[in-house]
Symmetry: C2
Subunit: 395 residues, 2 copies
């Protein structure tokens, strides 16, 4: 089984590549390193030091004896995508290769346009390269639970049976995404659904919840195999950020009243879900959706759990919500299809958070305090960095 991981240098792409390689699959990774560029732009960096992708691949070969092939390039460049696909000829393509931060997409017009251009056009190039090189390839596409928004009915896995005026159909689940990033994923989903029908492609769209944790069986085998751990307000996801705030003695900053409910999962479940999708491809022409998370928590409950688990002082602090999201809402989302394929979830427990606490303790001297403060407000249309830069430069 040959698997090409797009975005193979990222938080989840790199652990996924090693995990699949460890299962005996023939793995290649593709990246253009723009994720490392975003760090320079916003003045943040991974709490855990990360090696270059070339060093990671070399180290993985040293510790496992297995090879991972590297393609350096940008998915918006069609000639690169076609050449890579024709050269590697994967059975499955795992597509993490998109700008994945909602706050980043909401910085200003330029970042909204960049996010939709980068994600939608890159994904269109992948679709066409599949159709032209080998339409039997399986596209395993990373989506987001945030595509659904917070409807007042149960969220289903991609499709919903609707009875209306005495007739019935099963239709794509209506989406109400809450950022230009989440919108880009909705656009991708519609494009892929059409491509499956039109070109006879096959795809699994994984609507993932919020991932937490930093260690997998593979990343712990050598420090140079570590994956990134983001805690800044732009790329840091909520549970990782709470753990870091606790270790640092910073209040755990909850947006609004913290009544927003979100699906979450352990990083070790992410890599296993990808494997399950790859090992169980859909039929040609089929577009399917799995909701990829294992538990639901309110943001406040996550903060309280972290505060309770951390042995030191930890205070939960409510701050103004920079997002325009529903704070009090119904939330019930189906997530049975990955369980049916054999997923055994790692549920959130003290043990798991404690392993994260340990990694954070080891690296806490690296923290940049300024980057934790929310800098992007959904209601504003201007780049907050333009003010920050002016201040830094004494203008």
């Amino acid at each position: 089984m040959k698997v090409l991981v797009l975005g193979g240098d990222g938080y989840l792409g790199w652990p996924t590549a090693m995990y699949l390689s460890d299962q005996g699959m023939d793995v290649a990774v593709c990246d253009n390193f723009v994720r490392r560029q975003y760090d320079f732009e916003i003045g943040a960096e991974s709490l855990v030091p990360i090696a270059s992708l070339q060093e990671r691949i070399k180290t993985w070969h040293e510790v496992s004896g297995k090879s991972i092939k590297l393609y350096v390039g940008d998915l918006v460049q069609a000639d690169f995508v076609y050449a890579m696909m024709a050269d590697f000829r994967p059975d499955a393509i795992v597509h993490f290769g998109e700008q994945r931060s909602a706050p980043y997409s909401m910085i200003d017009r330029g970042h909204a346009v960049y996010t939709q251009y980068n994600n939608v056009i890159g994904n269109l190039n992948v679709i066409y390269a599949m159709a032209d090189v080998d339409p039997a390839m399986h596209l395993v596409k990373l989506g987001s639970m945030g595509e659904y928004g917070t409807p007042n009915i149960d969220i289903e896995e991609g499709f919903i049976a609707i009875e209306h005026k005495g007739r019935r159909d099963v239709l794509p689940y209506p989406k109400q995404p809450g950022s230009f990033y989440h919108l880009s994923k909705v656009h991708d989903s519609h494009n892929i659904m059409f491509a499956c029908k039109n070109f006879g492609l096959r795809s699994t769209d994984l609507n993932q919840g919020i991932v937490y944790g930093t260690e997998t069986e593979q990343t712990v085998r050598h420090p140079r195999l570590a994956t990134r751990l983001d805690y800044d307000a732009v790329f840091g996801t909520v549970l990782n950020r709470f753990c870091i705030e606790a270790v640092l003695g910073h209040p755990l900053t909850v947006y609004g009243q913290g009544t927003q409910i979100r699906g979450i999962l352990d990083i070790r479940d992410t890599v296993r879900c990808i494997e399950l999708a790859v090992l169980n491809p859909p039929d040609r022409g089929e577009y399917r959706v799995f909701n990829q998370f294992t538990e639901e928590f309110s943001v406040k409950a996550m903060a309280e759990l972290v505060a309770k688990t951390w042995p030191g002082e930890a205070r939960v602090e409510m701050v103004d919500d920079p997002r325009t999201e529903s704070l009090s809402h119904y939330y019930q989302a189906t997530h049975t299809r990955l369980l049916e394929l054999g997923l055994t979830p790692h549920l959130l427990s003290q043990t798991l958070i404690e392993s994260l606490f340990r990694v954070i303790e080891e690296n806490k001297h690296r923290v940049n305090w300024e980057s934790i403060q929310p800098s992007v407000n959904w209601r504003h249309t201007k780049n907050p960095a333009s003010h920050l830069n002016a201040k830094l430069n004494g203008l």
Copy 2:
């Protein structure tokens, strides 16, 4: 009332601009003339000769005494969009300024990417310029009935009440568009819906059916005020194309068995619908959808009606469907909101088609036969012109 018509040089943009000007509104038009460029690319042109936009505006001033302001530029250039909006400060923006052909978007990868880039990014720039210059502006956005696809339940106007597992919500109507062009409109709709909620904008999304006809009260006032009439397989819409085929003695080419059902409307109803939307803006923060068509016909019924009405010989011929669309399907679409606002439809009748026959007769010496043949196949991923060019060049 100040109205800015984006795409004001096009088939519907130009008649709309004159119509609104005639109603006493202060009108500006914006265009980058890429529609005229597509003609060069595919080797086709309007059956009716059309003047330049500058000549049109001058002639309109001569016959009506009214002025239309002109902005020449491209919506994907944000600085141009911002400067135009800040200069004209419209109350309403009527957005026709997108690549509007489904076959064009399906030519090959490059045309799919161009269509989504051009339409989605241009529209994002308009959204941000509204938010920054004046969020009270009303965006009247042209969508398509083709965004819905052909579900097995009634199509509603943008939203549908869903009961599911004992709970209830009103959610965006699920979309199943059938081309990368139609997908671009779905992406736009999602982006606009979010922008209304997030930035407090207001918008009317007009999901328009297939427009037929070429004359309005304003276009007939001078030959230099005529709007384009397309009959080629890429930009020609179905009813106009049937009329032209009848006049030319060409078989009326129906795709598949012609059992596809489509909503249609007269060009004179298009301009009136736009006026009704402009005169009755939604509240700030509101995103609403009107289904803009007046009658439903199967494609075969349209062909038969044209054949019966044309006084000469006319034969209906079934050809292989180049599209991947459902040929036999349920179709019932609600379209009451524009009627409630006061629309009095011009229904399809012999008189109306006969006026179109007359215009075609006058211009039939201009027909290019080759451009009528379907050249784009939905299942192919390569540009058919690359073969055609090779043939023309004797390669």
